[in-house]
Amino acid sequence: MTALINLVYLISVSLFIVGLHRLSSPKTASSGNLIAALGMGLGVLIALFAPIESGNNNYLVITGALVFGCGIGLVVAGKVLMTKMPEMVSLFNGLGGACALLISIAELLNFHNSGNIELASYLTTLLALLIGSIAFSGSLVAYGKLSGNIKDSWKLPSANMINMILLLTLIATSVYQLQVLDTMDLVYFIMIISLVYGITFVLNVGGADMPVIISILNALTGVSAALAGIIYDNMIMLMGGILVGSSGTILTILMCQAMNRSLLNVLAGGFGGGASSAVQVGDQTVKEVNIMDASIMLRYSTNVVFVPGYGMAVAQAQKICKELEDLLEEVEVNVRYAIHPVAGRMPGHMNVLLAEADVDYSKLLDLEDANKFLNDTDVTIVVGANDVVNPSALDDPGSPIYGMPILEILKGKHVIVLKRGMSSGYSGIENPLFFHEKTSMLFGDAKKSLNSLLDELKTIV
């Protein structure tokens, strides 16, 4: 029996590895997800039916929780809008962290009730509690920031100092608790401080950097799951958790590289808010373009590039983009989409939205290809993107985003920026692009503007 269980464990872990591997390639991604889910299912089955040394099984409670959880999970996953995906992932991640938090507390209580404390296991459990709590409260704050319930301007004074003090308190208290081990009081204290730390840590980071934070929090949940795996001597939990921990870490690093910033700089909240730019914008004027001129420009272009950003997601404008693309392709205008690695609120966010609107894969250009294509581009339409096309990153050493690779859309002939008004981007940095001679602004809701463009174009093609 034990041999059979071990075999299934082994299969389950292999399925995770194969699943993750397949998830990293477009052709196999869909099956990868299902394979990983199968691995999870097997792991849960074994956890349900493997013989245990003591306890009353309590199957009724378990089944109830599982059924409810499945129901809620499926309904929420089926209903959520594609544009709300980043928030959703963040929220799910928080629930995973909460799960780790709860079982760590229960296990620590068991340690204290039985009086039989093995120091290594106790330390592991305490760490799982600490990391799980940070992942839980941090994910909820990230969720709040992305959904707009928590304003980006709500920042603590001298937040870095507060974070440092909280972190030192956590370490000191944990070390002390390991020495005395008398009551649960300090454990609850550690949990509360960890929860507070999760909040202050994420609150301090600019909203534009939330993708990086979600990736870190995801890795943290993985690590806490792995630590819990050590507690239960369970290989599936350990391997699954660590795989998520390391893949989340590498994804975080890739995202920081894409913005040409160090992780420390992101965590210190260097982006947005207080940062000041050398660009003076006071008396500069912007040029506006009307729908008719814009549509004529598009009609007689050879190459047109759309640069989508979070504004496209908010305005739900991806389907209109696709309709415009179809219409333009009919009159032999080449249409491409330039996707910056950190456009939107999550890496790949734009790709998902455009895929939802049936845009062909091959029309999506990554940063490098897009910058080549932009040399021969007649009109670039910026749909709700801002920081990823800010030329300050190239030529203004005083700008907080100086050095970040951007889509160099000024290489093309004309730029049309769809924008609601003259507010600065999510990061709060002024964008000299709007005042550039090649740039024309088309003010208004992105979806409405694109719709009018579409109607106008239909009359002239």
């Binding site: 997800n33 245990i52 799910f92 629930l95 995973g96 799960c99 079982i103 290594a120 870490t249 790949g348």
Partner: protein
């Protein structure tokens, strides 16, 4: 110091697996195209829900009278299941959109 020795003696196999898994994770992800970052993150997030296995074991091994463990454990199972099932379902929804082409 004793703690480190204790960990090394009791959990050596696990430590080996841990280190291998860390490198494996790096290798698996390092060559992902940007298009897949969101689905990958969502999929990885679903996998991090493995922690429900711990929650299930906790509830199974507790006494039927131990209401604290049962309450904590069942809430943990509920939240963990939402994470796992919701995570995989959402990932699947995203990837279905890519496959239509």
């Amino acid at each position: 110091m004793n703690l480190i020795i204790e960990i090394l003696t009791h959990h050596l196999t696990i430590l080996f697996a841990l280190i291998m898994a860390i490198f494996l994770g790096f290798e698996l992800i390092s060559k992902v195209p940007t298009v897949l970052h969101t689905p990958l993150m969502s999929g990885a997030n679903a996998i991090s829900g493995v922690v429900i296995i711990g929650a299930i074991m906790l509830v199974r091994s507790s006494d039927s009278e131990d209401y604290v463990s049962l309450a904590l454990g069942s809430l943990a199972i509920l939240l963990g299941t939402i994470n796992v099932v919701g995570g995989h379902a959402v990932t699947n929804r995203m990837l279905q959109m890519f496959r239509k082409k």
